[in-house]
């Protein structure tokens, strides 16, 4: 059963990167202001605010909604602070959706943010693991994602050289795409050889297979049908969503088939009435902090059969002009302010279906998927938006 229809009427992003020029609240305000300008409304028009970050020591501030009360334009309004690690951005969007769908509000501002250069991201991420068993050998994010990549190649008998070649192409395509996105952080031209010869972080993952630390914020404005039709000429409509989580202990679940990603996508497809995502989706913003992981996601999200994503990548299925362009924004691989990243995926998918994506626009995109992953490879969230209600 579907609740009230929910639209997105505006998005705003900061210029992501190393933002030494602004304080953390100023960074947040930059995205919020941009979203209000895009929607053509003022802070007085909103019924509430949802905000979140990767909940951690990252910036040395706890429960940031207090500090950001003024930056978020939320004084005198109801707020919700929702956080689920790397998948925070998608969880924030889901909260915005339910707030409107419930009838408890008509216009809600949703904001995700992270200023990673204030702290040590990998030290922070190591504290996601429990202090008794896993923390002693966890090496930040690359450690677990590498284990997953190895497990995946082994399970599906994928030739390591082929996977390496495909991962390098994924890196090249994302880095190329970032040049089309004025908000992207990393803008460097790389070749397949550059990627294959980059320094090893945790084998087989090399430096150019890995996302950066970014400072950035993203704001998205959700509205009810009535408000959206009144305020916005071309809103995007939420068609489906899903969020699933696995066991905490890394060794207990099968990361090569990744049930949380698979099931979250299935929930979203069921809700949106999508049966063949590769055919029906026009564009996807997949959360891709690591190239190998992006390929695993293609399989979990049903874009191709298990174990075959490297072949599809080599065929060019997911690059610009391919059958299903993925991450025309340059993706997480080129921009990763963690608490904002999942919401940036949503905002980018909204820009695509509303025809506002500028140089990174996929021609005629009507139906788009956005996605984020979080925890110790543990959580996956999906939102599907459409140009039609």
């Amino acid at each position: 059963m579907m609740g009230r229809p929910v639209a997105i009427i505006g998005t705003g992003q900061t210029y992501h990167g190393r933002r030494r020029d602004v304080s953390y609240p100023e960074l947040v305000r930059e995205a919020v202001t941009a979203a209000f300008e895009d929607a053509g409304i003022t802070p007085q028009d909103i019924d509430g605010v949802v905000s979140g970050t990767m909940p951690s020591m990252m910036e040395g501030i706890s429960l940031t909604h207090f500090y950001f009360a003024d930056a978020l334009c939320q004084v005198g309004k109801p707020i919700l602070k929702v956080e689920t690690c790397g998948s925070t951005g998608q969880s924030l969007g889901h909260c915005g959706y339910y707030w409107i769908a419930s009838g408890m509000g008509d216009i809600v501002l949703v904001v995700g943010h992270e200023k990673m250069h204030e702290g040590d991201s990998q030290a922070t991420m190591t504290t996601v693991f429990d202090p008794f068993f896993q923390q002693t050998f966890a090496a930040g994010a690359p450690g677990i994602f590498t284990m997953q990549s190895m497990e995946w190649m082994y399970r599906f008998n994928i030739d390591e050289e082929k996977a390496r070649e495909a991962a390098a192409l994924v890196s090249v395509s994302n880095h190329d795409n970032a040049f089309d996105n004025p908000h992207a952080h990393i803008k460097i031209r790389v070749t397949v050889d550059d990627v294959k010869n980059a320094k090893v972080i945790t084998y087989p993952v090399r430096l150019l297979d890995v996302c950066p630390n970014s400072d950035g914020a993203c704001a998205v404005i959700f509205a009810s049908e009535e408000k959206a039709n009144k305020i916005c000429k071309k809103p995007a409509w939420i068609k489906g969503l899903g969020f699933r989580g696995e066991e905490f202990f890394f060794g207990e679940s099968d990361k090569s088939v990744w049930p949380s990603a698979t099931e979250a996508a299935k929930d979203a497809y069921d809700m949106a009435g999508i049966r063949d995502p590769l055919k029906e989706l026009d564009v996807a913003e997949v959360y891709n902090p690591f190239t190998y992981q992006e390929m695993i996601f293609y399989e979990c999200l049903g874009f191709c059969p298990r174990g075959e994503s490297p072949d599809y990548v080599l065929k060019g299925t997911f690059k610009k002009g391919g059958k299903l362009p993925c991450d025309p924004s340059g993706g997480t691989l080129c921009t990763n302010p963690i608490g904002a990243t999942g919401l940036i995926r949503l905002a980018e998918s909204v820009l695509q279906v509303t025809g506002k994506a500028g140089d990174r626009q996929v021609e005629g995109a009507k139906l788009a998927l956005s996605h984020a992953m979080g925890g110790t490879d543990q959580f996956n969230g999906i939102t599907i938006v459409s140009s039609e209600m």
């Binding site: 059963m1 579907m2 609740g3 009230r4 509430g48 979140g52 990767m54 909940p55 951690s56 020591m57 990252m58 040395g60 501030i61 706890s62 429960l63 909604h65 207090f66 500090y67 950001f68 009360a69 003024d70 004084v75 005198g76 309004k77 109801p78 707020i79 919700l80 602070k81 929702v82 956080e83 689920t84 690690c85 790397g86 969880s91 889901h94 909260c95 339910y98 707030w99 769908a101 419930s102 408890m104 991420m125 504290t127 996601v128 429990d130 202090p131 899903g242 969020f243 699933r244 989580g245 696995e246 066991e247 905490f248 049930p259 949380s260 929930d267 979080g374 925890g375 543990q378 959580f379």
Partner: protein, 378 residues
């Protein structure tokens, strides 16, 4: 908007638990499901109320909390505060997409630093943190202003402790069990002038679970549903100097909750209130802002005996936060205690009157920067 009811509840006691956090969480979440005769697999979605590294020693605490709350491979999410988790769970049911949501909030205070150490990280690192700002020092300034502005006395503030810890003696889940007098409170060491040690809440363990259900579904789960009637929330400016500490955003939150519940005279229509008072005087100030008495009349209110367990408007019959302060989950404890009073199943701390409408309140942040108000009805 679909109606939402509490179908079942469970809570842990506030004393130090010897269970691991995961087991500790699981037992309470399971109890709430068992009471409704439901299994984990049948629940529509799971909502967690927990906090980050400062309250658990773990970044992204939802990662660890996921298993114990029964969320494995379930649809779910997490809010950073327990009343946020509660209302988000209600929204999910109101949306029509779920018929049941299990909300669990957890914190093991005994395993992490003092509240003041944790709350000092709310402060910005440039202006407030270097001068030692935390919830206690902010509350001390608020208390001084409250006494100076309205002539509230230290004795009146101390009476709140005598009342609430007295009530806690009858609440099997309360953490602090100690009969204290006003003199005991006044002679306890000064923590941050004018706040005395016994006027400050302790740090407690606490896991609390609530199973929420849609109107259609709740009939199958209980014959004593407690309905959500009203909700309000509001946040104030961050810097204390930008705010009026005696007229904060609680009035805004309360007005929204009363409007939604159709309450025009809270003093008369509310039968019992569970108010979040981490510092004794705040119970008096919050009562004023909730409209349970006039501005500046909080002192007279406690003197009158109205808010005693036997009074016409009992406040914190459970003993409140002064008796038990699991920081993150304390708001949901207020909701559970209010619901128990409505059901008439609070046991020895059941109030002496019929309870139809109850108020639960939660607050966090310096001097009550953010407030939530929930109205429940039988």
């Amino acid at each position: 908007m679909r109606r939402v009811a509490i179908a079942s509840m469970a809570q842990s006691s506030g004393g130090e638990s010897r269970d691991s956090l995961m087991d500790f969480t699981f037992r309470v979440a399971k109890e709430a499901l068992d009471k409704a005769g439901m299994t984990r697999g049948e629940v529509g979605c799971i909502m967690i109320g927990s906090s980050d590294i400062f309250h658990s020693g773990l970044s992204c605490s939802n990662s660890f909390d996921w298993d114990g709350t029964g969320a494995f491979m379930k649809e779910g999410s997490r809010a950073e505060e327990s009343i946020f988790a509660f209302i988000y769970a209600c929204m999910r049911i109101m949306s029509g997409q779920f018929d049941t949501v299990l909300v669990t909030s957890l914190v093991k205070g005994s395993e992490n630093p003092d509240n003041d150490a944790c709350t000092s990280f709310f402060a910005d690192p440039f202006y407030l943190r270097p001068v030692g700002m935390n919830e206690t020092t902010a509350a001390a300034m608020q208390m001084r202003e409250y006494m100076l502005h309205y002539g509230i006395t230290e004795e009146q503030c101390a009476k709140v402790v005598e009342k609430n810890l007295g009530n806690a003696l009858y609440n099997p889940y309360a953490h602090i069990k100690k009969k204290v007098t006003v003199d005991d409170v006044l002679s306890s060491p000064i923590i941050s002038d004018p706040l005395k040690a016994l006027e400050c809440a302790p740090k407690s363990d606490g896991v609390v679970s609530v199973l929420l259900a849609s109107e259609k579904k709740v009939e199958e789960l209980t014959n004593r549903p407690v309905w959500l009637k009203g909700y309000g929330c509001s946040i104030d400016h961050f810097y204390l100097g930008d705010r009026n500490l005696l007229a904060g955003e609680l009035k805004t939150a309360a007005a929204a909750a009363y409007k939604m519940a159709g309450i025009t005279n809270p003093k008369k229509e509310i039968d019992v209130a569970e108010i979040c008072e981490p510092y004794a005087f705040q119970e008096l100030l919050w009562c004023e802002q909730l409209g349970l008495c006039g501005d500046g009349e909080g002192g007279a209110l406690i003197d009158s005996g109205v808010t005693q367990m036997t009074g016409t408007l009992p406040v914190n019959p459970s003993g409140g936060v002064l008796a038990m302060n699991p920081y993150v989950s304390r708001g949901l404890y207020r909701i559970v205690e209010a619901a128990l009073q409505i059901r008439g199943s609070a046991g020895e701390h059941q109030v002496d009157k019929d309870v139809s409408m109850a108020l639960a309140h939660g607050t966090q942040g310096f001097a009550g920067q953010c407030h939530s108000v929930v109205i429940l009805k039988g």
